[in-house]
């Protein structure tokens, strides 16, 4: 049986009466790579923020590895599982933000090992060793002692990828990881994500990089107005039968 790591069933979310997600369902199996595309304000980021529990869903069901983290209560509104269940669920995924969100007062190495050491009580030397291996893999080993402010945006984003990986997640979420970067730096970050794809990391990637999405994904989801409008194979991305999708892609590329 293929295990579903994440299941979002009929989730809805609104902010101050403004409906941002409407009855969205999405599930991801182990090893799958799903890209989410769509115009800004379409709910892509909110979808990730709900999946990562940074936002609470109003309605629907959120399941990680078969365990219900949020499910509809009697009045239809979603009820969340216990704090401990939520804490356990958060260990399943890692998140990469558009704005990196590295800790500026920590060196690159400290950014990576601080959570393993202080949160998970891992041995400092072992955490360090693993961090250095990851840094080497992402061509950042010479930056271990640098501070985030001394790095380019692209390097910072790669460090934030390594920081998430150091906690050994089963799913990686990327929220427009290259939107704050110029094209040259973007290439380095996309290369890092492709490296993860090669290792069969399960990923959901919100992106505006269409060529990248086509190249790396197993499935592509087009969102607009809080709804998953279309789900398609990457081969069909530039040649789909959906008029609105073609128009969107035509506009941004």
């Amino acid at each position: 049986m293929i295990m579903k790591l994440l299941e979002l069933n009929h989730i809805s979310k609104s902010f101050d009466g403004l409906s941002v997600l409407r009855d969205v369902s999405l599930s991801v199996e182990k090893g799958e790579i799903v890209s989410v595309i769509g115009p800004s304000g379409s709910g892509k980021s909110t979808l990730l923020r709900c999946a990562t529990l940074l936002e609470k869903i109003d309605k629907g069901e959120l399941i990680y590895k078969g365990k219900k983290i949020a499910s509809p209560g009697e009045n239809g509104n979603s009820i969340y599982a216990s704090k401990e269940d939520i804490r356990q669920a958060k260990k399943i995924f890692g998140m990469v933000f558009q704005s990196f969100n590295l800790f500026p007062h920590f060196s690159v190495l400290q950014n990576i090992i601080d959570a393993p050491v202080t949160v998970n009580r891992e041995n400092r030397e072992e955490a360090k060793e693993r961090a250095m291996k990851l840094l080497k893999q992402f061509e950042l080993d010479d930056k271990a002692d640098a501070y985030p402010c001394q790095l380019s945006g692209g390097q910072q984003q790669r460090v934030s990828i390594v920081r998430a990986l150091a906690l050994d997640p089963e799913i990686m979420y990327f929220d427009e990881p290259t939107s704050a970067l110029d094209p040259e730096l973007t290439a380095g970050v996309l290369k890092a994500i492709k490296e993860l794809a090669r290792e069969k990391m399960t990923m959901i990637i919100v992106t505006h990089e269409m060529n990248f999405a086509k190249e790396v994904s197993d499935r592509i989801i087009f969102m607009e107005k809080g709804i998953i409008q279309h789900e398609l194979s990457p081969d069909d991305l530039f040649d789909s039968k959906y008029e609105r999708l073609n128009e969107f892609i035509g506009k941004i590329s």
Partner: protein, 216 residues
Amino acid sequence: MDIGSIIGQLTDGMVTSILIFLLTLLFSLPLGLLVAFGRMSKNKILSTVMQVYISVLRGTPLMLQLMVVFFGPFYLFGIKITTSYRFVAVIIGFVLNYAAYFAEIYRGGIESISRGQYEAADLLGYSKTQTFIRIIFPQVVKRILPATTNEIITLVKDTSLAFVIAVSEMFTQAKAIAAAQASMVPFIVAAVFYYVFNLLVAFGMNRVEKAFSYYD
């Protein structure tokens, strides 16, 4: 009377001034952080109480506050005021007053840290307490250093207000000697004392700022 003996007579006062300064910092810096937490609390009652506290303590003269703390127990509850309470009253008054100012400095610093820092820490598994201690507070300290230095320099000069409830800090003694000797020298010695004290404060704080300058 020569300068040497004037300085000699002022020594006790200097020690008292320095003691007021140190004890005020020791208690008001942590208390200010607690007040800031209360002020930012989601609990409306707590937050309102702290807001009123800050507003009153910043909105009335420190001199008046010292008198309220000193005479209050007698006027309000008929408790006999002892001489040893003078110094305690000074410390209580200063700590309450400075905690209000520090609270607002802390709040400004804490609110200037982006949400992204909290979100990243949350998803890396940090608890709320761990997030504050390891991620947020160190960044807050760096940001609030210049404003804190200002407050500390003001505190050095404010210690002279202890005279209103007859705690003989340095300035009280300087005035007494000046009056007795009909001389400006004690005032000049007092001025040099405060100035040198603040030079040291500025130097020390500058060192601390440098220690935090390893990142932007």
